[in-house]
Amino acid sequence: MTPMEKVLGPLGPGPGGHWGTPEPIAVQTGGLTKHYGKVTALNDCTITVPEGRISALIGPNGAGKTTLLRLLAGLARPTSGQVIVNGVTPHQAPAFLADIGYLAQEIPLYRRLTAEDHIRAGAHLNPRWDGESVRERLTGLKIPLNRPVGKLSGGQRAQVALALILAKRPRLLLLDEPVAALDPLARKNFLGLLADGVEAGGLTVILSSHLVADLERVSDHLIMLAASRVQLCGDIDDLLAEHRILVGPSKDTTALERGHRVVQATRTPRQTTLLVRLNGPVVDPAFQASEVSLEELVLAYMGEDSPPTLTHLTSVGEEQ
């Protein structure tokens, strides 16, 4: 067994993957942990993202989303644990960097330089570079190529940065809240562009955002972080299938909790609503099961409605 396999179990078909036809893996981490001084930014993070997915990275502020993306991009080094990106540990080599597109939340661009300057810089700094696509895209969006980007609006700057990151033709695109600065139409167009890119093959995307509705439209994979830990990771369809909302009378639910993992419980004197991760069929006829939406699932794991439930959920991250 390789060291990676010791941590992750046998490599090959991922969870929800299919034996016999192992899916190529874009990103795999095992026990990934990052401390900044005494602060734990990411704790024991074990995830797998197969190639060709658009993975939504969701979590409350400070959950470790940016830390995870920076670890994947090789901008930060793990305190412990492993990262494999495109088959290798992130490292400082042109070949590795050429395959990664990372756009930080702050949208870093040289404010005094123009979009055209950035396009030309990219041509000097990258082996594959499609500068023409940036010019076309920005011209289409009526964003001037010859104005210093510091004088563009926030949304226009984001468009420039996104066009540049796509021009690099990366195999893995890591986007930290890329659409936050965009208006709804621009957001829709950009996410459509990502979907097209993935459709064309050879591209995997991980994007963090708070806009669940947007993510739901394009992503087929979910990484959910809360309190520096992975709460959920997997194909969205599988995750939705594993969870149910149970509505029943207000009574002792100990037996039910023994069978399934209760993510969130809302109790009134007359009624109990549980969001559970199923572990087999629900046998208690007193409870009515219904499917969950992605938003309900995400909110439940964020613990927005009942923060205390998070405390007994710490083992969820071990599920893979």
Partner: protein, 326 residues
């Protein structure tokens, strides 16, 4: 990478080049005048056989003379305005995250950026030094104070080393602090601190100084533009005398320690009497100095020290930037 460095820093380059050009024009035009003034003074004094007094001649205008002395501060400018912001401004604006996510390693990024900046610093220091050294050559020929910090520190090799040191200090401070203004403050304080420390405490000891003892009545002057470190008089009992302070003295010996016959010598131009000479013969003077011909050795050692410091700072920058999370 060079393209990006040029595109990012070309305005700084234009400003630097314009300053150098302006300085060169002023130095060149006034330097020709200085040289002319010197030649005519030499011709005039040769006619009157009074060339010994040429040393007191001040050549050139006071304004330009002040500018030349002010080039003492020129090296730190590159550290402040080019070095300190090099990494710190990018860290503040977050643009390191743009550069480091192109297909270029951080090491490559640092080598190219720092390499061009160091080349620019060496050119800056070198051009200023050449201009100042040329402008000052008539004064140098006469004034015999080549070890004076106002001359030693602005001529020949050392300005290049100072500029490289200032640049490396600015870059290192910026890389460590990641903020432009604090990095500039550290660069300024660090540059002045190290320069003062080296000038006052290290430079006199690059080579062990020569001490010569001589009779107070005979006097002694080493050849050329030597650097006097210490001077004094030793009494008959072997004790060094306190420097005469206000009290009249003869050949460095206070008259209070001498017979009355010496008083006349201290008060006016007259030759010491026999008894006075007899008393003075018990005193010895000493002079501790660095000989004039050590000038280039001292320039070389000082250059070496600042190049070594610059190298150490570059190493620190590399370790900090490549070892730390981006």
């Amino acid at each position: 990478m060079t393209w990006l460095v040029w595109r990012q820093h070309r305005i700084q380059f234009y400003v630097g080049a314009a300053l150098l050009a302006a300085f060169a024009i002023i130095i060149a035009t006034t330097g020709v005048q200085v040289a002319h003034q010197y030649r005519s003074a030499q011709l005039a004094c040769a006619l009157h056989e009074g060339c010994r007094h040429l040393g007191g001649l001040f050549m050139g205008s006071h304004v330009v003379g002040f500018m030349v002395i002010a080039t003492l501060g020129a090296p730190v400018l590159v550290g402040l305005f080019w070095g300190a912001p090099l990494v710190a401004a990018e860290a503040e604006a977050g643009t390191t995250q743009f550069a480091w996510m192109q297909s270029v390693t951080r090491k490559h990024w640092l080598v190219v950026k720092m390499g061009w900046m160091l080349v620019a610093a060496a050119i800056w220091g070198g051009v200023i030094s050449v201009l100042v050294t040329w402008w000052s050559s008539p004064n140098n020929a006469e004034q015999l104070n080549q070890f004076n910090p106002g001359r030693f520190d602005i001529m020949d090799l050392v300005p290049v080393a100072y500029s490289l040191f200032a640049m490396a200090l600015g870059i290192a401070a910026g890389a460590l602090l990641r903020r432009v203004l604090p990095a500039m403050a550290v660069t300024l304080a660090g540059f002045i601190g190290v320069r003062v420390l080296v000038t006052l405490w290290l430079r006199p000891h690059y080579l062990s100084a020569v001490t010569v003892f001589y009779k107070v009545t005979s006097g002694f002057t080493p050849p050329g533009a030597f650097w006097q470190i210490a001077q004094g008089v030793i009494g008959p009992n072997g004790q060094a005398l306190a420097q005469p302070n206000g009290t009249p003295y003869v050949d460095g010996v206070p008259i209070t320690a001498l017979p009355g016959s010496c008083a006349a010598v201290a008060n006016g131009p007259s030759n010491p009497s026999g008894s006075c000479l007899q008393a003075l013969s018990h005193y010895r003077a000493y002079l501790t100095y660095q000989p004039a011909d050590r000038f280039w050795t001292f320039q070389g050692i000082e250059t070496g020290i600042f190049l070594a410091l610059a190298f150490a700072l570059i190493a620190v920058t590399a370790v900090v930037l490549l070892g730390r999370d981006a």
